[in-house]
Symmetry: D2
Subunit: 423 residues, 4 copies
């Protein structure tokens, strides 16, 4: 294993490689292989990019066929047959069965680009400037999206004030009483000092923020609050959409209808950069080219994304995810019960689950133990106090058992080590 070229040539900003210090060469399904041939089970899934596993054979086949045929690779936002096929399939498989009529914007292939686009459009449509976001939110790292992201370290990186966003308490935030009663009060009180927002943006399950789950009633009530006041509701489904919680969109069980939805990460299915914004037709008030970007027409991603939509022609994936989620939650609850002095709770929905430690950095310690045992699993929460399980949805039950065994052992080992240190 030779990591010296990275240390010599790559910027200090690199991060995940510090937690998982090996050089990966191959990947397949729920496994990564490093250059020494060691296989790792992957419960991180590219931070939610690989809901269908690594290098899915169907998607790969479709991509290679497209390339071999000489299909156009880069087409800006010109019309391509691959884009048309994606649009038609997305409409047929996702939108129509759900009675949805969104317009699709390809804003550039990263999540932050989708969020920046949604903010621009919400501000244009309403003529307002303020955006309401929630405590423990993460929406991206470019200046507009970062203003709605709440991690103090990431915010400090901006080097300039982040403005035109007002943060309010998320469902269950400490000290906040009835968080939506407070939101309603500040929106209706012309003396609240919270300028009327163009939009409210949220993740239904806050991933980076520590696997915090909004209740369905809370979501429904939030939708009502927004719509009664002509405030746009944006669901950022970048990390927990594409089936992560079970259904394609995370908000489906809440029965809400956002004004805009951002998708990315698992959208291409294959790990290729790709994102989109779904826009209610009456809000599609863009002027041509008002937002643009070089890689809006990245046809390889259209091809694999279209292939990935095949998973959604019936409800088998959603059902399987529900079943697997139960298995995971049960096992995590057992671990939590066994270490109730150190573990506060298990949080999550579908296949995004968090083991919440009472002390900061315990997530990191367990993650490090797990890596030594052949499992890739990351942390969440501003203090890395949460061990975040984000496995491919296609992970088999056997693989789950293996991974959860490793987690159980790693928790034991990390807590034992921690006790030795504090003793």
């Amino acid at each position: 294993m030779n990591t010296q070229p990275f240390e010599r040539l790559e910027s200090e900003v690199r991060s995940y490689c510090r937690s998982f210090p090996t050089v990966f060469t191959h990947s397949e399904g729920s496994h990564l292989t490093d250059e020494d041939g060691k296989r790792y089970l992957d419960f991180f899934a590219g931070a939610g990019v690989l809901n269908y596993g690594h290098n899915h054979p169907d998607f790969k086949k479709a991509l290679i066929a497209y390339l071999e045929d000489g299909g156009i690779v880069h087409s800006l936002d010109m019309y391509s047959a691959a884009k048309r096929r994606f649009l038609e399939t997305f409409d047929e498989v996702i939108l129509q069965p759900r009675g949805m009529e969104y317009r699709v914007q390809f804003p550039g292939p990263t999540g932050t680009n989708a969020v920046e686009s949604a903010f621009k459009l919400a501000r244009k449509v309403t003529g307002r400037k303020n955006i309401v976001a929630f405590t423990n939110a993460f929406h991206g790292m470019t200046l507009g999206a970062l203003a709605a992201s709440t991690n103090a370290g990431k915010r400090a990186g901006a080097g300039v004030p982040l403005d035109n966003v007002h943060v309010v308490p998320f469902d269950g935030y400490p000290g906040a009483g009835d968080s939506l009663a407070y939101l309603e009060a500040v929106l209706d009180d012309k003396g609240s000092g919270v300028d009327k927002p163009a939009a409210i943006i949220l993740e239904t399950v806050q991933a980076e923020g520590g696997i915090r789950v909004a209740g369905f009633n809370w979501l429904k009530r939030l939708e009502t609050i927004a719509h009664e006041r002509n405030i746009l509701l944006i669901v950022d489904d970048i990390q927990v959409g594409c089936g992560r919680t079970g259904p394609f969109f995370s908000f489906e069980p809440a029965g809400i209808r956002p004004d805009m939805i951002t998708l990315s990460k698992s959208l291409s299915g294959f790990g290729l950069p790709f994102s989109l914004v779904l826009i209610q037709p009456e809000h599609d008030q863009w002027a041509p080219g008002e937002h643009n970007g070089t890689f809006r027409g990245h046809n390889p991603a259209f091809v694999t994304a279209t292939a990935a939509l095949e998973f959604w022609r019936d409800d088998s994936l959603e059902k399987a995810t529900g079943k697997k989620a139960e298995l995971v939650a049960e096992r995590l609850e057992k671990i939590a019960a066994k270490h109730s002095d150190a573990i506060a709770e298990v949080r999550g929905r579908g296949l995004i689950q968090g083991l919440v430690f009472k002390e900061n950095n315990m997530g990191n310690k367990v993650s490090a133990e797990a890596f030594q045992r052949g499992l890739i699993v990351e942390t969440a929460g501003v203090g890395d106090e949460v061990l975040k399980l984000l496995p491919p949805l296609t992970t088999t039950e056997e693989e789950f058992e293996t991974g959860l065994d490793i987690i159980a052992e790693s928790v034991e080992a990390a807590l034992a080590q921690h006790q030795r240190e504090v003793a």
Copy 2:
């Protein structure tokens, strides 16, 4: 040709498809093919993404081989063998021969992400907030980069004020006298009202802004001004790097050494989203993960980018570009001379050339005529007054002759039509 699905499902923000209203299916070298089988010569090259032409066979071969081998596709910013190979090759082929010692940051795969990263880092390193940019600059569409982009329409799309950037006149800006004398004055005058900047960012040839070329002496003098005052110099080489003007970096003939360089567009060689920031080692003061992004480790792009670097093992591409550029410039000068009433000048460097019309929108009219004649060519300048030639560097002389014949005809036709309209 069926464009109805786009009209029904895609957002109004789509733009280039309006200028080139057909559905593309295949591409190769300097040609695109639409679904009716019509072939188009491409002098647009994905807005500078396709310096090596469409679907270069070597890059395609490398990519397919990687995919077939089960190479890891998505790896966040973990170490992968494909990334290491890219880093080592970039160092060997690009940095070392030029005596450069930059650190490489992968900031997310789009140009705007690279610019946002560079701004964050410059602000961190210097503790200052202001960025100096130039009239007619374009650096991206997310809020931080957009603040340094000058197109009024794009800026208005932000919906909020764009701040912490001060614009000064570019080389040759009307009314500005000696633009660098003015810059020096405002930087040294504590009564100028221009807060001392963290960085100065520029394109050596402003592409979107209307093919405006900075002189080499001007660049050299600008570097001195920045460095004497401990202001970082950032060259945004996203559109005119990777050989567009001849050498790999556009600024090489000026003999300057930027503190940071942003690259994207043609970097992957194959049209895949990819970008990087080059950072002088003393400025690499990032904390791990202080800037991040999901698609920093997009291995297919590492693979094709590494393949593309083979072009730079000798100076043959640079020389060929120089020769082709002469041919293009000669032909354009002839066209300009013939229509000196309507055409103000020919501007450009290497294979980015602009035919500057005296009236706004003439670029659009010529582009439309050219499209009918089988040539894709776009416009630049805030009034679309410039016909922008941005052909693949690999375009053959014969293809150039064909394309320039079409341009000559299209200019004739558009001017004749224009005269009929105003008469």
Copy 3:
């Protein structure tokens, strides 16, 4: 009465003259006289400027003597004997007896100037940018102070976004649960999105915001929250300082020690523009002239302010205010009880009292009725739903009875009229 010159020559921005449409010529104690010789009892007191009544004879005598003697009137911030006498007297009468050691800044003679200065200094001392303010706050109309003022109409007047301030719920804000528990949570949670503030600013009784009174325990706890986190606590005592609530500083009964205090309005005693910032010595990190202003050395105000301090050599004014406040509160409670369908509550502390109507604009209607009956009384609250009593502290019991009789009648009349209108 001739108001035509105002209508012809004065800007539409004029406001109080619309509620009290007559031309005043003379004033004395708690009375104003208009040019028709009609006398008005004044329960508005220049929005808190005239705690000692209009044209107090002692202050007038001192001022005329100073002028007749040829005392220097305007001295910028040069040393003058009048300023020295004010400083020494303020130290002797106000600071020393309270065990206080503040430094005095004269920031320009208006309240908003004092607030702007306090913000600058807090940001300098801490190196932070954010300021925490409270719902229903009012701190001034210039851009820095306006950002911390919450009235939507006033904010909209800025014409630009107001930033670097985060609003949190004031004591008792609806829906906010335990407002200080929430404040603590967002300050301690590095994922809250509330950037660590330089300072927290508050009015202990929010005047413009609707006569909202912070509890003493709440204030004490707030002080602890701020100081444990090295956040500066600024009490804006511009409207409710100088004895308005009884003691000289409104926060004295809460036993807190702010890092900075702003005073203005009644400070000169005589209605002359005058303001100051009190600064804990360790925070007095100003560079000379870093904040300045032309009218910092307005000697007539030093003279009358020094005379006004004579009121504070014993506790007789404080005690009398307490007694009068009881009288006022009792009478208001009776009115409220009688009209419990229309009046929600009586709020206030000392001689700032509010009769809170359940419907917006009822304050205005009662005010108009009172004006016809010879009483000047204004409203508060963003919906003008509060009748605000802000009489001179020197108002006699007999005057109070007269004024409260008028209020009782005016409430009757306004409610009767209102019922006729809605019937």
Copy 4:
């Protein structure tokens, strides 16, 4: 002389008292007297507040009479007879003879308040956010006005970025070529990056910025540039209005008609805080109370300001100022000629004149020498390189000769001392 109370009790922010370290007690005409009975000739005039000299006997008499009569002192923005008299007199003496029809806003009694009001209104009227200001401008110290002030030290005091203002070169700025050609270019070029401004604000003679004089043709051309583009032109005449350059408004000789004018400083004539904004009637789009302030109705200032307007019933003051200005300029030119190695030039218009030294801080050194010799004279320019003469307009020829003799001696002494130091 006892300055200890100031050192003990006053904030470090105090500044002028450091240059003129004595305690003043009396003043009259062009003289100040300190508590040791020493008299000083005043060529500073309260930074432009005392155009009619200290404690003018007519104004004093009017003020004392008003006070003795029990005239209302503080009336917020209610109608008062004193305000009406001021408005009518201002209209009769200033506006009508000049064919002007401005509306008068009383925005609070300081200059920065007037500037903040003008910015708010310009942004409201145009719906735009940007303001164009000039290099070396000074418009005030509150956040909105400070954004348009260019002194780096004052700007740094803000502690937050100052935005929504773009600075362009003033008449004669080094390196800037034809500064108005550049301004026109950036305003008309939709690719300039300078967002279309609501207003352009300027001082016709930049006082704090170093006595920089705009040419009349330049002003006229600037007015045309603004008006052709529906950009409001604001003249900040706070320091050089009220006769400082000769005519009442500094811009009269240029024949321009600003959309708004700000006045303060010498407006009350007596050193009392007072300011106003003059607004072309079509721009008077304020909502009532949209901007407000406690001390808008400061009747003592109305009284003295009305008395001061008596100076403007004929052109005798203007003529006298012109004559005295010639005398001053002649003497300064002689001094400059004698020390042409150290003095770059004499700049100014009317009775604002600057002796511009080639080295920074020479202004301070001469000022200190002059103070020892009984003359108060201040500096200007960001490096204190300018000795600024701002004497009362009522200064007699004999006083001018005395003061200029002192200046001549002080220049000699300071230069001699400086040569000893550098030797």
